[in-house]
C-alpha cells in the first residue's frame, strides 16, 4: 500500500483519537504503527502532516507499538528518519527527538542492550552540549531550540531511569556555567543532582568527583546503567509525601550520610549556582527547581537550608500558585531550620491573604484554603493528616475567610469547615466575641435551608445544604448547642419540602447516632402529624420507611391507615408496604396485624395484596428476632432485578435452614469417671461467632441408647468455651463411632446445618470404677469379683511392655481410678466396671524391668478381645 494522502491521514487520526481502543480493534489498527513510521519518510506528505503523525506517536506509543521489541524498532526507525533529514531547517527534528525518546521510555525499551538507546543517548548529550555533530546535522538556526529539546529528552529519560545521567553531572554543570540555555539545563542538572544524591546515599557512597568531572569515570559514555538497573522500579518521588517524610525513617536515613568537606563545598556551589540563576526561569520551572533542590538537600549535613533564604522574600510576594506551593514545600522540608516563628507567621498571613484575594480566581482560593488547613507548622499540635486550623491562624486572620450565602458551593463548604474549626475552639475560649462564630454558623445554616426549601431550586442547592449540615455534625459532634437547632431546622425543612426525602434518608445514613436518633424522632413526628392525603405522600412514605421504629406506634399506624386509602397506584402501595416492613423489622405487632389484614384485602394492586398477605403470614408465624432477620436486607444477591424476587430470595435465605460448611469443631477431651454413666468430655471451638448451637449425635449400630443433643447458647472464636459433657448409655460395652451434626444461627441471622467429622468413643472411654470398698477390705472385694467371673466369663494372660517409668507410671497414667489393691511398685489389682453390667479385672504382678504379665478376667466374652487390644495399645503407646 502506498502512502496515504494528507486527508486520509487526517481522517484516520481523527477516527483513532475518537476511540483508540475501537480503532485498534478495527481492520486498520494493526498496520497503523508501521504505516505511520513509513509515511514519515514519504516525500508526498507535508511537514505539517508528519508533525501531526509524530504528535500521535507522542501520545499513544503503547497502542502503536505495544511491546518492547516493537518500541525498539519504532525508535530505531524514528532515529533513521532523523538522520536522513536533508541539512536544511525542518520542523521535524524536534518532534522526532521527542518521539524517539517517548517510544523508548514509554515502551520499556530503554536499556544498555537496546541499540536505539545507545544511539539516542549520545545524540541527545551531543545536542545538549551544543557540540558539532558534523555534516550539517543541525542547521545553525535550529541549534538552540534543539539543545533545549535534547535537555528535555534527557530529563525525561532520567526521570524514568533515575541515575542514568549521574556521570554527566560535571558536564551539565559546566554547560550551565557557559553558554547553554539556562532553563533546560538548570532543570536537568537539578534532577540529576537530586537523583544522584538519593542513589549515592542509598549505596552508601559520596558524590566523589561527580560534580567536577567533565568526563565520565565509567568510560563508554557518561551514562550509567549500573545504578539504573539496581534501582529499577524504584522511581524517585520529586517530593516524598510529607507525612511519610516526617516519620523520618526512609528519607532521613538516606540523606544522613556525611559528605567530605570537598564534596559538600562543590555541592553547595552547584546549588547556589542553580538558585542564583533561578530568576531566569519561568515561574513554573522555578517552582520545580525549588521542589527538587529542597527535598534533595533536606537533612543533608553541611548544606544549610539558608541557601534558599534569598529567594523567599521574592517568592512570598507573588501570587503564582506554583511558587507559593513550592515555598510551602520548602517549609515542609526544612521547618524551623528555614522558617523562624516570625517567618511562619508571615507565610501564613500571605497564604491567608491569597486565599481570599479578589484578584485571584476561585480554584486558587480553594487550593490555598486547603493549604491553610494542611499547613506544615513548625510545631504541629493536632493529629497528623487531619485538616486543622494552624495555631497561628487566629480568629482575626480568619475573619475574611468565613463563608456567606453568596459564595460558590465549594467555597462555602471550604470556608464553612474553617468556621466549624473556629466554633470548636471557641467552645473552650472566653465568650464575648461578637458576633459569636457559632451564632453566625446557625444563621448561615438557616439561610442554606431556606435556599434548599425553594420550590424551583435546583437539586444542587439542597445538596449543599445537606453537605454543610453533615460537615457541621462531623466537626462539632458532641455540641448539643449546635446540633439541637440543626435538628429542628432540618425538621422544618422537611415540613416545607418533603420531596427532599432522599437527601434526608442519605443524611440519616451518614451521621452518627448522636444526631440520627433525635432527628429520626422529629422527622417521624413531622410525617405522622400529616393527614394521609397529601401530594407528597410518596415522600412521606419514603421518609417513614427510614424513621419508623417501635416508638409512637399508634400515631404511625394511624397515619398509615389514613394513607392506605390514598395509595391508589403501585408506587404508593409499595411505599406503604415498605413502611410496614420497617415496622415488622422493628418488632411492631399489635396494630400492624390489623393493618396488614386490611391491606391484604383492600389494596387494588394484586402484587400489593400479595405482599401484605405475606407480611401478615410472617408476622403471625415468626418470632420477633427471626422476623427481623427475615425482613432485613437480602443476604443473597438477587438473580433477577425484580424487587419481589429479591425480597423472596431474602426470605428463603432467612427462613430456611441452610446447608453450610462446619463453623464449629469438636474434639474429645479426657473422659470423666464420676457418676453412674461414662461421660464424654467434648471441647467445642468456633471459627466464627455462632449462636444457639445444637449438636446432635447418632450412634451407629445401636450400641448405645440414643444420645441427647447438646445445646450451647453462643460460641465465639478466641474466647475459651466451656467443655460439653455427653453422657453415654452403652447397651453393650463396646467402642463406637458417633455421627455429629450441628445446627446453629450465624451472626447474620441465618440458621445453618452442618455435618461435623465423626467422633470415636474408645473402649477406655467406657471405664467406670467400682464403688470403693471399705479401708482394708480391698483385697477381699477384688478376690470376690475375680472369682465371680468364672465359669461364665473368660480368662486370659497378656504381656504388657513397660517403659522407663515402670509399672507405677503405667498405672498412674491409665488405670489410677480403678485400682483396688496397690502394692507399688510391683503389684496392682484393678477392677473396671463396664456399663451396662460387665466387669474387667486385671492383676498386674511381679513386674520386671521391661514388662509386666497381666492376668485378666471378665464376665463378658465379648470384652476379652477389646481388653487385649487395650492392653497392647498401652504397651504400644510407650
Amino acid at each position: 500500500m502506498g502512502p496515504l494522502s494528507r486527508d486520509a491521514w487526517a481522517q484516520r487520526l481523527g477516527a483513532f483519537r475518537a476511540s483508540p481502543s475501537a480503532f485498534m480493534a478495527g481492520p486498520e489498527g494493526e498496520d497503523l504503527g508501521r504505516n505511520l513510521l513509513g509515511d514519515l519518510r514519504s516525500e508526498k506528505l507535508s511537514e505539517q502532516t508528519k508533525v501531526s503523525l509524530l504528535a500521535l506517536s507522542l501520545e499513544y506509543p503503547a497502542q502503536l507499538w505495544p511491546d518492547v521489541s516493537a518500541a525498539e524498532v519504532a525508535a530505531t526507525s524514528l532515529l533513521d528518519t532523523l538522520v536522513l533529514l536533508p541539512p536544511r531547517p525542518s520542523a521535524l527534528r524536534r518532534p522526532l527527538l521527542l518521539a524517539a525518546t517517548t517510544a523508548l521510555a514509554a515502551g520499556g525499551a530503554l536499556g544498555p542492550t537496546s541499540g536505539a538507546s545507545c544511539r539516542l543517548l549520545p545524540l541527545l548529550l551531543g545536542l545538549a552540549s551544543g557540540s558539532d555533530l558534523g555534516r550539517g546535522f543541525v542547521p545553525a538556526s535550529e541549534q538552540r531550540p534543539l539543545q533545549a529539546t535534547a535537555c528535555e529528552c534527557l530529563r525525561e529519560l532520567e526521570s524514568c531511569k533515575p541515575g542514568l545521567l549521574r556521570g554527566s553531572l560535571g558536564l551539565l554543570r559546566g554547560l550551565l556555567g557557559q553558554e547553554g540555555p539556562v532553563q533546560p539545563l538548570s532543570l536537568l542538572l537539578a534532577l540529576v543532582l537530586r537523583n544522584t544524591l538519593v542513589l549515592q546515599s542509598r549505596v552508601g557512597a559520596g558524590l566523589g568527583g561527580l560534580l567536577t568531572d567533565k568526563v565520565s569515570p565509567t568510560g563508554g559514555g557518561p551514562w550509567d546503567w549500573t545504578l539504573v538497573e539496581k534501582g529499577d522500579g524504584r522511581l524517585q518521588p520529586q517530593a516524598p509525601s510529607w507525612p511519610a517524610a516526617e516519620e523520618g525513617e526512609g528519607e532521613r536515613s538516606l540523606t544522613a550520610r556525611e559528605h567530605s568537606p570537598e564534596e559538600a563545598r562543590e555541592l553547595r556551589a552547584a546549588v547556589i549556582q542553580l538558585l542564583d540563576t533561578s530568576y531566569l526561569l519561568t515561574p513554573v520551572a522555578q517552582a520545580q527547581l525549588l521542589w527538587l533542590l529542597g527535598w534533595a538537600l533536606r537533612g543533608l549535613q553541611g548544606q544549610p537550608p539558608a541557601l534558599f533564604k534569598p529567594q523567599l522574600v521574592r517568592l512570598l510576594g507573588t501570587a503564582q500558585m506554583t511558587l507559593l506551593h513550592a515555598v510551602l514545600a520548602l517549609k515542609a522540608a526544612f521547618g524551623e531550620a528555614l522558617f523562624t516563628a516570625q517567618d511562619e507567621a508571615l507565610l501564613l498571613r500571605r497564604l491567608t491573604l491569597a486565599a481570599q484575594h479578589p484578584a485571584l480566581p476561585l480554584p486558587t482560593h480553594l487550593f490555598y484554603l486547603h493549604c491553610l488547613l494542611s499547613f506544615p507548622e513548625n510545631w504541629p499540635l493536632g493529629p497528623e493528616g487531619e485538616e486543622a486550623a494552624p495555631l497561628l491562624l487566629g480568629p482575626q486572620l480568619c475573619r475574611g475567610l468565613l463563608p456567606s450565602l453568596l459564595h460558590d458551593p465549594m467555597a462555602l463548604l471550604a470556608r464553612l469547615h474553617l468556621l466549624c474549626l473556629l466554633c470548636a475552639e471557641d467552645e473552650e475560649e472566653e465568650k464575648g466575641q461578637l458576633p459569636s462564630p457559632r451564632h453566625y454558623l446557625e444563621e448561615l445554616l438557616a439561610g442554606l435551608r431556606q435556599q434548599a426549601a425553594l420550590d424551583e431550586g435546583p437539586r444542587a442547592l439542597a445538596t449543599v445544604c445537606f453537605q454543610a449540615s453533615y460537615l457541621v455534625t462531623r466537626c462539632l459532634a458532641g455540641q448539643p448547642i449546635v446540633l439541637t437547632p440543626l435538628i429542628h431546622g432540618l425538621a422544618q425543612l422537611y415540613r416545607v419540602r418533603p420531596m427532599l426525602a432522599s437527601h434526608f434518608v442519605d443524611f440519616l445514613d451518614q451521621v452518627d447516632s448522636e444526631l440520627r436518633e433525635p432527628l429520626k424522632v422529629v422527622l417521624r413526628q413531622e410525617v405522622v402529624s400529616r393527614l394521609g392525603r397529601d401530594e407528597a405522600l410518596c415522600w412521606h412514605l419514603k421518609m417513614l420507611a427510614k424513621v419508623a421504629d417501635g416508638d409512637a406506634q399508634s400515631a404511625t399506624l394511624n397515619f398509615l391507615q389514613a394513607a392506605a386509602a390514598h395509595c391508589t397506584n403501585w408506587d404508593l402501595q409499595q411505599g406503604l408496604l415498605r413502611v410496614c416492613r420497617a415496622l415488622l423489622r422493628a418488632g411492631v405487632r399489635g396494630g400492624l396485624v390489623d393493618l396488614l389484614q386490611v391491606l391484604a384485602r383492600q389494596l387494588e394492586d394484586p402484587d400489593g395484596r400479595d405482599h401484605a398477605r405475606l407480611y401478615y403470614i410472617l408476622l403471625a408465624h415468626l418470632a420477633g428476632p427471626k422476623l427481623g432477620v427475615a425482613l432485613g436486607p437480602s443476604l443473597a444477591p438477587p438473580a433477577l432485578a425484580s424487587s419481589l424476587v429479591a425480597e423472596n430470595q431474602g426470605f428463603v435465605a432467612a427462613l430456611m435452614v441452610q446447608e453450610a460448611p462446619a463453623l464449629v469443631r469438636l474434639s474429645v477431651g479426657s473422659h470423666g469417671v464420676k457418676g453412674p454413666l461414662p461421660v464424654l468430655k467434648l471441647q467445642p471451638e468456633a471459627l466464627e461467632p455462632i449462636y444457639s448451637l445444637e449438636v446432635r449425635f447418632h450412634v451407629e449400630g445401636q450400641l448405645y441408647a440414643p444420645l441427647e443433643a447438646v445445646h450451647v447458647p453462643c460460641l465465639c472464636p478466641g474466647r475459651p468455651a466451656r467443655p460439653l459433657f455427653l453422657p453415654l448409655q452403652p447397651r453393650c460395652p463396646a467402642p463406637a463411632r458417633l455421627d455429629v451434626h450441628a445446627l446453629y444461627t450465624t451472626s447474620t441471622g441465618l440458621t445453618c446445618h452442618a455435618h461435623l467429622p465423626p467422633l470415636f468413643v474408645n473402649f477406655a472411654d467406657l471405664f467406670l470404677p467400682f464403688p470403693q470398698p471399705p479401708e482394708g477390705a480391698g483385697l477381699g472385694f477384688f478376690e470376690e469379683l475375680w472369682d465371680s467371673c468364672l465359669p461364665e466369663g473368660a480368662e486370659s494372660r497378656v504381656w504388657c511392655s513397660l517403659g522407663p517409668q515402670g509399672l507405677e507410671g503405667l498405672v498412674s497414667r491409665h488405670l489410677e481410678p480403678f485400682v483396688v489393691v496397690a502394692q507399688p511398685p510391683t503389684s496392682y489389682y484393678v477392677a473396671i466396671h463396664l456399663p451396662p453390667n460387665s466387669k474387667l479385672l486385671l492383676r498386674l504382678e511381679a513386674a520386671l524391668a521391661d514388662g509386666v504379665p497381666v492376668a485378666l478376667r471378665t464376665d463378658d466374652w465379648a470384652v476379652l478381645p477389646l481388653a487385649g487390644d487395650y492392653l497392647r495399645g498401652l504397651a504400644a503407646a510407650l
Binding site: 483519537r17 476511540s19 481502543s21 507522542l58 501520545e59 517517548t102 521510555a105 514509554a106 538556526s141 531550540p145 529539546t149 528535555e152 530529563r155 525525561e156 524514568c160 539556562v182 522511581l235 520529586q238 517530593a239 510529607w242 531566569l280 526561569l281 519561568t282 515561574p283 513554573v284 521574592r314 507573588t318 501570587a319 506554583t322 510551602l328 515542609a332 508571615l346 498571613r349 491573604l353 491569597a354 484575594h357 479578589p358 480566581p361 476561585l362 480554584p363 480553594l366 487550593f367 484554603l369 493549604c371 494542611s374 493528616g385 456567606s404 450565602l405 453568596l406 463548604l413 461578637l434 453566625y440 425553594l454 431550586g457 442547592l461 453537605q467 453533615y470 437527601h503 443524611f507 451518614q510
Partner: protein, 490 residues
C-alpha cells in the same frame, strides 16, 4: 511534578452528551511513572468518551439532575477544592484538577509520586499547583484578545504545537503559551546568552513604557441597624514595557496623595526582583491605623515582552463612592420601590457610564410600572423582570438622585424569568454599574517622573487610570439580606 493528561471540554447543555472534548493530550512517559509510583492503586487514564461523561457528571453539568444520585448528591461527598475523584469503570481516577470557565471545562490529571491509598494530602502533591497553572495558562491563551468562536477554534488548533513547546513531556516548562507561540514564530532568531526563559526575544524599536491602573470597587450596602455596609477597592496595575536589551531594569513607583488610602494585600508579578518588607506585610487583615505604610510603593523588575499585571492590591477607602438605599415593599399585587443614591463629593463626577440594575427574581414578567425619578431615564425589560435606571455621565449638583414607583407582575413561567436562590420574597438588591476614567478611588497613581528605566534610550512613559464598579450591591433594607461575617463586626 508532571501531568498525565490534559483536556479541554466545551460544555454544551441541551445536547445529548452535554459536552464535547475539544482538545486532549496524554503523556505516556508520565503514565508509565504513575503506574510504578501508584502501584496497586494505579488507575489508568481513560479514553476521552468515558472521561467526558464522568467529569460532567461529577461537575453536575449533565442535564439529569432531577433525581437524587448517591454517588454525586450524598451529603458526605464534600468537595472543597477544584480537585475531583472521577468514577470510571468502577475505579476512581484521582486527582482530577478541573474547573469551568466561559463554558469550557479545563481539566488535567497530575502525577502523584506515591501510592494513592490512602490518599496523600493535596498540599504534598507538587503536580497539583502545576496542573492549575497549566490550565490557567491555556485559559489565558484562549481568551486573550479572543472575540468570537472562530478565533477560539483557531487558538484551539494551535494548542497541539504549542504544548509541544510548553509541555513536551507532561512537565510544564512555561505557563505562558503566548511565549511558546512567539518562540515557534521566531525560531530563526538565535538567542543570546542568559536569556530569561520567560522572554522569548528582544524588542527593537522606540522605547516606551505604559502603566495602567484599574481599580474595581465592590460594595454591599444594607442601610440597616446592626449590619455594617462594606466596600473594598481592588486594584490591578498593568504594564507594557517596550525596551531594548535583554534584561532592561525598570522601577515603577505607585504614589498616593496625602490623604490617599494605603494599598494593602499586594501581590506582585514574578518578574519583580525585590520587595520592601512594608509592602509584603501591609494587609487588610490588620486593623487600620495611621501608621499604615502609605507609599511610595516601589516595584523594581525586569519586564517580559508582553503586557503583564505588575501587581494587584486592595484598599479600604473611608467612604463608598456612591451611597444608596433601596426600599422595597410588597403591597398586595404590586411592589413599591424607593431608591436613593448619593455620590460622595470627593469622587470625580464624570462617568463614562453609570447605571443601576434593578432585577426582580422569582417573579413573573413586569406587566405594569408607574414611577417617578429625579434624574436619568428608566428602561424596562418586561420579560426579564428587570429595570435599568440610566443615570448617565454626571450626577446633578445636589449629588443625590432618587427613584420611586410601583411594579406589577404577571404569572410566573419558569423558563423565562430568572431564578435566584437568595432573592426570595422581599429580599432583593439593586446593582450599580459605572466607570470613571482617569481616576482612582484610592488616589493611587504612577508618577511618570519616578519611573526609572535602566536601558538605552529615554522611553516615552504613559500612564492610565480608571475606576470600575464590580459587585456593587445595595440591598433592600426592608427585608433580610445575606451578610458576611465582616458586616457583623461593628
Amino acid at each position: 511534578m508532571a501531568q498525565r493528561a490534559v483536556w479541554l471540554i466545551s460544555h454544551e447543555p441541551g445536547t445529548p452528551l452535554c459536552g464535547t472534548v475539544r482538545f486532549s493530550r496524554r503523556y505516556p512517559t508520565v503514565e508509565k511513572r504513575a503506574r510504578v509510583f501508584n502501584g496497586a492503586s494505579y488507575v489508568p487514564i481513560p479514553e476521552d468518551g468515558p472521561f467526558l461523561k464522568a467529569l460532567l457528571f461529577e461537575l453536575r453539568l449533565l442535564d439529569d439532575d432531577k433525581d437524587f444520585v448517591e454517588s454525586r448528591d450524598s451529603c458526605s461527598r464534600i468537595n472543597k477544592t477544584s480537585i475531583y475523584g472521577l468514577l470510571i469503570g468502577g475505579e476512581e481516577l484521582w486527582p482530577v484538577v478541573a474547573f469551568l470557565k466561559n463554558d469550557i471545562i479545563y481539566a488535567c490529571v497530575p502525577l502523584v509520586e506515591q501510592t494513592l491509598s490512602p490518599r496523600p494530602p493535596l498540599i504534598s502533591v507538587s503536580g497539583v499547583s502545576q496542573g492549575f497553572e497549566f490550565l490557567f495558562g491555556i485559559q489565558d491563551f484562549l481568551y486573550s484578545g479572543q472575540k468570537n468562536d472562530s478565533e477560539l477554534n483557531t487558538k484551539l488548533s494551535q494548542l497541539p504545537d504549542l504544548l509541544l513547546q510548553a509541555c513536551p513531556f507532561g512537565t510544564l516548562l512555561d505557563a505562558n503559551l503566548q511565549n511558546s507561540l512567539d518562540n515557534t514564530n521566531f525560531a530563526s532568531v538565535t538567542q543570546p546568552q542568559k536569556q530569561p526563559a520567560w522572554k522569548t526575544g528582544t524588542y527593537k524599536g522606540k522605547p516606551q513604557v505604559s502603566i495602567s491602573i484599574t481599580e474595581k470597587v465592590k460594595s454591599m450596602q444594607y442601610d440597616k441597624q446592626g449590619v455594617a455596609d462594606t466596600w473594598q477597592v481592588v486594584g490591578t496595575v498593568t504594564c507594557k514595557c517596550d525596551l531594548e536589551g535583554i534584561m532592561p531594569n525598570v522601577t515603577i513607583s505607585l504614589n498616593l496623595p496625602t490623604n490617599g488610602s494605603p494599598l494593602q494585600d499586594i501581590l506582585v508579578h514574578p518578574c519583580v526582583t525585590s520587595l520592601d518588607s512594608a509592602i509584603l506585610t501591609s494587609s487588610s487583615i490588620d486593623a487600620m491605623d495611621d501608621s499604615a505604610f502609605s507609599g511610595p510603593y516601589k516595584f523594581p523588575f525586569t519586564p517580559p515582552l508582553e503586557s503583564f499585571n505588575l501587581c494587584y492590591y486592595t484598599s479600604q477607602v473611608p467612604v463608598p463612592p456612591i451611597l444608596g438605599f433601596y426600599q422595597m415593599k410588597e403591597e398586595e399585587v404590586q411592589l413599591r420601590i424607593t431608591i436613593n443614591l448619593k455620590l460622595h463629593e470627593s469622587v470625580k463626577n464624570t462617568f463614562e457610564f453609570c447605571e443601576a440594575h434593578i432585577p426582580f427574581y422569582n417573579r413573573g414578567p413586569i406587566t405594569h410600572l408607574e414611577y417617578k425619578t429625579s434624574f436619568g431615564q428608566l428602561e424596562v425589560f418586561r420579560e426579564k423582570s428587570l429595570l435599568i435606571w440610566i443615570i448617565g455621565q454626571k450626577f446633578p449638583k445636589s449629588m443625590e438622585i432618587s427613584l420611586s414607583g410601583t411594579v406589577t407582575f404577571g404569572a410566573k413561567s419558569h423558563e423565562k424569568q430568572p431564578f435566584d436562590p437568595i432573592c426570595i420574597g422581599e429580599t432583593a438588591y439593586l446593582k450599580l454599574h459605572f466607570r470613571i476614567l482617569d481616576y482612582t478611588l484610592t488616589g493611587c497613581y504612577a508618577d511618570q517622573h519616578s519611573v526609572q528605566v535602566f536601558a538605552s534610550g529615554k522611553p516615552k512613559i504613559s500612564a492610565y487610570r480608571k475606576l470600575i464598579s464590580s459587585d456593587y450591591y445595595i440591598w433592600n433594607s426592608k427585608a433580610p439580606a445575606p451578610v458576611t461575617y465582616g458586616s457583623l463586626l461593628l
